[in-house]
Symmetry: C2
Subunit: 227 residues, 2 copies
Amino acid sequence: MVRHDKQNSAEAIAAALAHAIHEHRLAPGSKLSEDEVGEIFGVSRTVVRAALQHLAHSRLVELRRNHGAFVAQPSLREAREVFEARALLEPRTARAAAARMSPAEHARLERHIQAEHAALDQGAAGHAVYLSGQFHVEIARIADQATVAEIITQLVARSSLVIALYWQRRVALCESHAHHALLRALAAGDGSRAEEVMAEHLVTLVSSLDLRDRNAVPTSLREALGA
Amino acid sequence: MVRHDKQNSAEAIAAALAHAIHEHRLAPGSKLSEDEVGEIFGVSRTVVRAALQHLAHSRLVELRRNHGAFVAQPSLREAREVFEARALLEPRTARAAAARMSPAEHARLERHIQAEHAALDQGAAGHAVYLSGQFHVEIARIADQATVAEIITQLVARSSLVIALYWQRRVALCESHAHHALLRALAAGDGSRAEEVMAEHLVTLVSSLDLRDRNAVPTSLREALGA
DNA sequence: TCATCCAAGATCGTATACAATCTCGTGTCC
DNA sequence: GGACACGAGATTGTATACGATCTTGGATGA
């Protein structure tokens, strides 16, 4: 974790932590001690606190007063809501993207999909999940809607936590097909089709999660035993 | 500004500042010096910084390195994007709200509209703008979508800044009619109508702003002269 | 007179110190 | 033996101190 820009270190630390969470290297519920994080990055708690507050605002970590920061554990309800919000935003954003996509952007998305495949082949599942999310963010950027793109960025990050918690192992990671279909529709400038494919893709994604109303996943032994 | 809970003071300060911005008591571009704010609220800069960072994350204030915090001044482009994002989210949220609204919530919205009228009659235009925004937030809450409601809360706050910057004085504040129509549709449980009214209402709102591509509103003399 | 440079002041960026709060183990009392 | 209370340790919450960076005003020279 070499990162000694010394410029905007708080932001850099937040980004590094977010990336680790995104790639499932930091599991939901993990404790993020200020001292520990500060030592790792070589800065004082002041900077770490700023980074953690930033992440808390994005709902990637949860701050408990006098208890510290923990990687967030979205509830079932929150999990559903995140995808419902995405279902409101992304299909029509994909439609807008179809009307604007340039050849350069097409190539960029193409490379993105290839990277996803490569990550999967190498067994880097976490990285594949990250890239898969970034694909959605890229589409929002192509739509040239910075504000919506920001919101989607945040929702995608939270989705990554949801996937870490509620993914059903028995369902295969079949997203590459959907992303390919999306790319085709975008390349053809077919906004209606892009909107439709995106909507369907999100439904498929949700249905591959186990969001039934079982008891919540236990945070720790203590919470599991109902303290 | 008496506010000495001493519990979560950073959050309280952020809320107080956000409210002042929302009601147009703090104009876009105003400087928020850490020392000054800290003195007003009786806390150290540490706490003020946390509050300002929170507001920066919500895009209500802009942090310039080594220059301090300023009430944000959304660009024309950002102004348009905020309302485009709202147009994606709010109509379908209103539809969901229509399917769920209880009598108690109906009464609550009714009182809300009355408060808006009262504020306008008393010439408290800032407060009226605030209440008008909260009406939208309430609808998202009724839809029982906490995540979407949060996003809308943020977009509404930013809208308030946009209104402060781009409102055309010559257009009357004719929102009460739209809000009444919305309430009727919601009360009747007519989701389609609620969705339609909300979409139209947002279009009307945008068209009452002056978002033509004139030169950006000057931030300061320096920026106005192209430094 | 004008441009340039430099120093003083102001403001933010970060580190450190201390206070407040919580956790958890230990001891005591019933 | 079990329950309760208390205190040591650990962790976060806040204040303060110092360093870095930017602005501003005046002095200096051509």
